[in-house]
Assembly symmetry: C2
């Protein structure tokens, strides 16, 4: 294949792709808040949520973060986002549920965190609300699912919400606008590399 032919084929391929994308862009014409769910067993569910938070802050949109599971992980994000203006950051008081081993205490902690979440979900000033690891709380039935779905449905029309964590309930997936299933193909941890600062911590 001559260089000219190859260049021509490339141009045609890209032109076809551009037409397809332009057509899809033109078809999407509604504006509304998006409910994003990141679930699955892979790395990136929370990080992707925090990446969207950074994106929103780039537009000077005020954001809210509620971390439903506080653990040894993710201390970097907390330090980073807490010191920024425009970020309302709450962490559920207790550790991982497998650290506490006390269901009543976990339920009480989940309720206090959820109180912060409902306040944000009822306030149009929050452009994006990140409910980090809420799926775990729902999976363990530490909060009533109906109450959570109801608050998500009744939030301000333009507010974006991100829910992360393994095992998202099917009804939440049904309600969501965008859902990413993050599948672990490989993890450094399994190859004997401990959690690293700036990567997992």
């Amino acid at each position: 294949m001559s260089d000219a032919t190859s260049q021509d084929a490339y141009r045609q391929q890209m032109a076809r792709k551009k037409r397809l994308i332009d057509a899809r862009v033109n078809k999407a014409d509604r504006d509304q808040g998006v409910l994003l769910v990141n679930t699955g067993n892979g790395k990136g569910k929370s990080s992707a949520g925090f990446g969207v938070i950074a994106r929103a802050l780039g537009h000077d949109m005020p954001v809210g973060v509620v971390q439903f599971i506080k653990g040894a992980f993710s201390t970097g994000e907390e330090t980073f986002f807490r010191r920024l203006p425009g970020v309302d950051y709450h962490v559920m008081g207790e550790g991982f549920t497998w650290e506490t081993q006390d269901r009543e205490r976990d339920i009480a902690a989940a309720r206090r965190a959820w109180d912060q979440a409902t306040r944000m979900l009822g306030d149009t000033r929050y452009g994006v609300v990140l409910l980090d690891e809420l799926n775990i709380v729902l999976d363990k039935a530490l909060l009533p699912l109906d109450e959570v779905l109801d608050a998500l449905r009744r939030r301000p029309r333009m507010q974006h919400v991100i829910v992360t964590g393994r095992r998202a309930p099917q009804v939440l997936i049904d309600l969501a606008d965008t859902v990413t299933w993050m599948k672990m193909e490989k993890h450094a941890f399994k190859a004997g590399i401990r959690a690293q600062k700036g990567m997992e911590l």
Copy 2:
């Protein structure tokens, strides 16, 4: 089941989980830079990369970002991270390849971006380097794959690198420590919601 029994079952389940996790944590005892690859067709590959960048900044680690595909998307992150200290941010000059439709120009732009990347990959001061959408560049063979793999292999031992984008080459997946496949289950765009500020933009 009585409350006491249920509480007891919960405690036992969580204690079992804790033992499993502790055992895995104890087995992972090496410290090294992690090569993370986020691929697949779902939303979150770049956002998760930017979330890790935020995590690293929380530990005051200097970071480098090279965005290989500049487009209409992701303007929020760029604005946000560019204004922070400790962030070295580069964007490849041209738009999406399907906007330019000129292979030679795309190759030249990829080379200039890769020059920035190799500089970072050769410098121990960068704790984390994000090579955003590099997979697309590799998939289109705009850079020699061997040269990229070689630079990744020879980087400082403790440096973390994140490579994002659809269609990661298998050899890159083989080299990586952690790989997440992000699968699109649902996308707001397909339901007619246009790209929203703070979510996609």
